[in-house]
């Protein structure tokens, strides 16, 4: 649903499907040379998965990519992950418009000039 909303908003979306490992996600991101990596984690494993993807992205010299996402993620964990360099994460009740606005804004500031 999130993927469709982004596509409808004019983004080019590479949807990897479900049950991806951090390695698979980073490989796909590097191969497609994307600007943004967005993950949905509802399983409670966000404190393992986001840092791991962040680390692999850095290792692959892809630290210019924005890592964002959403799911069942408590506020404290959102703050902690932001501290570790992960972008904004969106919890239950997010409107897709807010998430799209965030990515657009990020793009405008990082790709300005």
């Amino acid at each position: 649903m999130i993927a469709s909303a982004f596509r409808d908003a004019g983004f080019e979306v590479v949807y990897t499907g479900l049950h991806q490992t951090p390695e698979m996600i980073v490989n796909a991101a590097v191969q497609e040379d994307v600007d943004v990596v967005a993950m949905s984690v509802l399983s409670g494993a966000h404190m393992t998965l986001f840092p791991r993807v962040k680390m692999l992205l850095d290792e692959a010299d892809a630290d210019h990519m924005l890592l964002t996402g959403g799911g069942i993620i408590p506020e404290d964990d959102v703050t902690e992950l932001e501290r570790q360099g992960v972008g904004r994460l969106f919890g239950p009740g997010t409107s897709t418009a807010d998430a799209i606005a965030y990515v657009n804004e990020w793009f405008a500031t990082t790709h300005a000039g």
Binding site: M1, S4, V13, T21, S43, G44, A45, P74, P92, G93
Partner: protein, 571 residues
């Protein structure tokens, strides 16, 4: 004069009766037209007068809107069971209050079960963690960060024994929510009962084991559809002989609905999946009446009160008619649809979470009015984490207030004869039959899955609902109307200690060191061979369980022959 002669109407009597009825209908129409005129002339609220599923709802229903007759409504416990699967319903036994629970390790969950039983819960329901749902052991690479987080980690018979320590399995009925590796967890369960010294033929309970809806909605599959369906029929065959009181499947609409389907889609896809299993059983050469009585169901109870009640009534009627007329079942137990229900997690929101208690209470009432056999009520902290003990207690008390204080359990199917409910029941039945036709035209359920048709239908419905909420057209209290500032959460949540994973991994290492490796390898090799030889695999998996083979080892032994499922990505 014989009674038959007395009942035969003469031709003129008959003509008179038809004329009388025509006059009555004409009169009804005239009065309705009068009311409609008055209605049209009065201003209305600016609101969506549709159900959450998008169904148009009329301002008024009358007997002109439904064809209810004795044949389609009937009596409780009698064909076609519209009014309930049992003759006496809640006057003999209330629905089973069964809260789905599981977290961390077998030890912690075992304690929660004992707590729930002590507080009046009447059945147990196991929630497994993500690795277990996908068939991975706690010490597998892919389990990292997920062990015990979303449910309990069960990687071998040793964990299953610990899960039910001090809980006599010949006395409690246990339901297990597991699908991809269901046959393996079922064997762990049977082996755990054997270890308790229980005669397995008395086991009562249910394993979800519904793989078709995994491909359609929940996505926790392992093998491709054909071998996966074969395992399910193996279970039908084995259970009908060895555990005749145990339900080897719970055909589930819950996940389909929670993924975004409408009430009609939930109804149609679930029942069509059910008929698919029946066809597979018959194709194996099983007698339909030997396995069909143990097929059980699981439906969602969503927000639209009357539509949900009608859905359950329609489900029973469609199932009964299909089983009797199409599949030739003779045993009334094969016609009788029995179901578990759960309130709709997806309707619960993060903002002002206490309001969720109210949502759940209304949904629970719909489940009872729909005639459910058992019920799980969700907790108010649904969007935050697994529920705390306190929020689970409130959810359980909600059912108890409903059952013991509201008077709802005094009479059977109290809404029968309501013009609206009967009309909705007929409409939903019609919608489901039309969807059956579409599925048949595609070549059946498996073809529909392979073409991504089910997934696409569900996604479209989910998008429509999300748009209605985001635009504010569909009011969600506390979310898009009646909001309160930041909507920050002020309730406690359950946190799973990361140490759980370490402890579970250490426990597995000990178990692996202690078991008899030769017995393990032999049992696994025999299982692979049985898969190849197309034998019933249940006895072989049971042998593996008894030898303390792990979940992933057993999964892999079968995967050698069955291969794994590659989900088609449609986007």
């Amino acid at each position: 004069m014989s009674t038959i002669e007395k009942d035969v109407l003469s031709r003129t009597d008959l003509e008179e009766a038809v004329k009388d009825r025509d006059r009555e209908i004409a009169e009804l129409r005239a009065r309705l037209a009068e009311w409609e005129e008055a209605y049209d002339g009065t201003p209305k609220r600016d609101a969506l007068f549709t159900s959450v599923s998008g169904r148009e709802v009329k301002p008024l229903y009358t007997e002109l809107n439904h064809a209810s007759d004795d044949e389609s409504i009937g009596y409780p416990g009698m064909y076609p069971f519209t009014r309930g699967p049992y003759t006496t319903m809640y006057r003999t036994r209330l629905w089973t209050m069964r809260q789905f629970a599981g977290f961390a390790t077998a030890e912690e969950t075992n304690e929660r079960y004992k707590y729930l039983l002590a507080h009046g819960q009447t059945g147990l329901s196991v929630a497994f963690d993500f690795p277990t749902l996908m068939g991975y052991d706690a010490d597998h690479d892919r389990s990292l960060g997920e062990v015990g987080v979303c449910g309990v980690a069960i990687s071998s018979l040793a964990d299953m024994e610990r899960l039910f320590e001090g809980i006599p399995l010949d006395q409690v009925s246990v339901s297990m929510t597991i699908n991809g590796p269901a046959i393996i967890l079922f064997c762990f369960y049977v082996a755990a009962a054997e270890k308790q010294g229980v005669d397995v033929s008395v086991l009562r309970g249910t394993v979800q084991n519904d793989i078709l809806k995994e491909y359609q909605a929940q996505h926790a599959w392992i093998y491709p559809p054909e071998p996966a369906l074969r395992c399910i029929v193996d279970m039908f065959e084995w259970c009908s002989e060895k555990t005749p009181k145990y339900n080897p499947i719970s055909i589930s609409g819950y996940h389909i609905r929670e993924a975004g389907a409408t009430a009609a889609e939930e109804l149609a896809f679930t029942l069509r999946n059910g008929f698919e299993y029946v066809e597979r059983g018959i194709a194996r050469g099983l007698d339909v009446d030997a396995f069909a009585p143990r097929l059980s169901f699981f439906f969602d109870v969503h927000n639209d009160f009357f539509e949900e009640i009608a859905k359950l009534r329609a489900a029973r009627r469609i199932w009964a008619r299909g089983m009797k007329e199409k599949y030739g079942a003779k045993n009334p137990d094969s016609w009788r649809l029995r179901t578990h229900c759960q309130t709709a997690g997806v309707t619960l929101v993060a903002q002002q979470p206490e309001n969720n208690i109210v949502r759940v209470a209304y949904q629970a009432m719909a489940a009872a009015l729909g005639g459910t056999q058992s019920l799980h009520t969700n907790s108010m902290d649904e969007t935050l984490a697994l529920p705390t003990e306190k929020s689970v207690r409130i959810a359980l008390r909600t059912q108890q207030v409903l059952a013991y204080e509201s008077g709802i359990a005094n009479t059977i199917d109290p809404l029968a004869g309501s013009h609206y409910v009967e009309a909705l029941t007929d409409e939903l039945e019609g919608d489901a039959l039309a969807l059956f036709e579409e599925i048949d035209e595609m070549g059946g359920v498996v073809q529909g899955i392979e073409q991504g048709w089910f997934q696409q239908e569900i996604a479209n419905s989910a998008m429509r609902q999300q748009r209605e909420v985001e635009s504010g057209e569909r009011v969600v209290v506390g979310v898009n109307h009646f909001t309160e500032g930041s909507g920050e959460v002020e309730i406690d949540t359950l946190k799973i200690d990361p140490e759980v994973e370490k402890r579970q991994v250490a426990k597995m290492a000990r178990m692996r060191a202690e078991r008899d490796d030769e017995a393990v390898n032999e049992a696994l090799a025999a299982l692979t061979e049985a898969c190849r030889a197309e034998e019933n695999v249940v006895p072989y998996i049971l042998d593996c369980a008894r030898a303390y083979c792990t979940l992933y080892e057993i999964r892999a032994a079968m995967e050698e022959v069955f291969g794994s499922y590659k989900e088609p990505v449609f986007f």
